[in-house]
Subunit: 292 residues, 2 copies
Amino acid sequence: MEAPRDFDALKLLLVSRRADLPRRLQQVAEFAVAHPDELAFGTAASIAELASVQPSTLVRFAKAVGYSGFSDLQSVFRHRLRDRWPDYGERLRTLHDAQPAAEDPARLMFGFAEAASASLQRMRQTVASEDLDAAVAILAGAETIYLVGMRRAFPVAAYLAYALPKLGIRSLLIDNVAHLGADQLAHVGPRDALVAISFSPYTPTTVELAAAAVARHAPVVALTDSPFSPLAELATVWLEVIEADFGAFRSMAATFCLAMTLAVAVGERRSADGAASAARQSTVDQGVGTKL
Amino acid sequence: MEAPRDFDALKLLLVSRRADLPRRLQQVAEFAVAHPDELAFGTAASIAELASVQPSTLVRFAKAVGYSGFSDLQSVFRHRLRDRWPDYGERLRTLHDAQPAAEDPARLMFGFAEAASASLQRMRQTVASEDLDAAVAILAGAETIYLVGMRRAFPVAAYLAYALPKLGIRSLLIDNVAHLGADQLAHVGPRDALVAISFSPYTPTTVELAAAAVARHAPVVALTDSPFSPLAELATVWLEVIEADFGAFRSMAATFCLAMTLAVAVGERRSADGAASAARQSTVDQGVGTKL
DNA sequence: CCATGCTTGAAACGTCCGTTCCGTTGAGGC
DNA sequence: GCCTCAACGGAACGGACGTTTCAAGCATGG
């Protein structure tokens, strides 16, 4: 039968033949492609559990694809790991040696990745955990969390609008559709909170909306990039995120990271505060279900 | 006892303590340093034969160096292979295993930062520059770039909707407001292109909209997380981004990075193609003005 | 509605693995 | 030359592994 001897060929085969496979075998195929490292190191039992199938299904799968058994299949994944060493360094070197003309998309990608990593690194050192705690405290106490971010900051606000409800937290994205921003924010009050996100050059709308919230005595948590940001003086608590840039483009990695942190921390704080509700599972420890 | 947890430390230990060791144990030490891959994958019996010792000697060796047994020693060699991008996998795991009460926001932030870094690192290795080139070519040739991303993927699409116009590229965000997605996409054609972004579990709307674009003969560039993604079979070109997760939360760093790369690369390609227009300054090299 | 064939879950099987135990070997001290 | 003790080889053990088997589940076609 077929039985490809290297990982890439196997991957191709799985993709092309996936439709013909039974349900559980598809499940294995997907897991194998998504977690090749597990296949290399795990035992049949451990892999089966991670993929939510029976060990016997793994053997069936291996045979269906043409191998003599699970062990035979596994050897392909092991060889992949052995042979993959010189990869990354090699690529970097050729990229460096290439023309400095940033024409090459791969080169751009490396640059942006570099910038993102630098941003993350910096954030770890600069964000004070007291500020973080203060921000979490405010948001955990809020009835509704209003979210404002325009232009470049909008994706961050949009992400929070996606994540917070998943954590059982009431939130409202001020997207300013049809210029209705002020109206969307009309009912904010002292028992709510506003998350405002803006970076230089600060979108006036964001600042105005934050000011409006302050006027209505709502606490404001700001994510911004400088102590001189207009948001910094308005905000009850503000967190400084400085993103590195590559050429004219700033990373967003650190900001997103902070946003995720805030969301999850608030979720955990609430379930800790609010709930003597049985032994509640911690959000970060929950299983392999849908990721947020 | 001592028992170093990573390969480099073990190597150092072996070199320094080799003289003190009994003859057969020296033999094992030399073999281990010379053939680490064998140690990672082989069985005690197979390794023993290659090193010309008894299996029991391997166990003795492991205990002499401070491990609880051969298996314990072997895990060090396995982790070495697994962490081709050394730190992250392991560090993430230990962060996970640390007290599940990840109550501390700072701890959460570190976890998310690790996940983001791991995602970026992984992306550098897995995204093929040919695919990237192909995607850029398609988008550079498009009259209008339509952008689709729902739920978790929406922030990415929203970011592109912000960045592309700044680069002089006509784009249209299909945000599906009022369920008008299909209508927003109504005029897409062969001369346009669609960027579709979706991750497991794939939002049906995104897949449907991509299918609609294909039906109208528009090329589709997909950002997704598996060859088995419904977007992968629909797309003209698809790019695989696998994000690491921390607990139930997936990073978005790599996806954003790719999105930025696509945007800028398309911008550059266009100005290179379209313009004998004087010595035009490259986008990434431009000065310290407003960052995108 | 039943018969058929494939898929699936669970348990049983036999093998090979890592480990332990014990007898033998060889070198150094008295 | 004998005693002591660490080093070593080899066999035996218990456990975990991959594999096989079998019966139940399920949809399909007659």
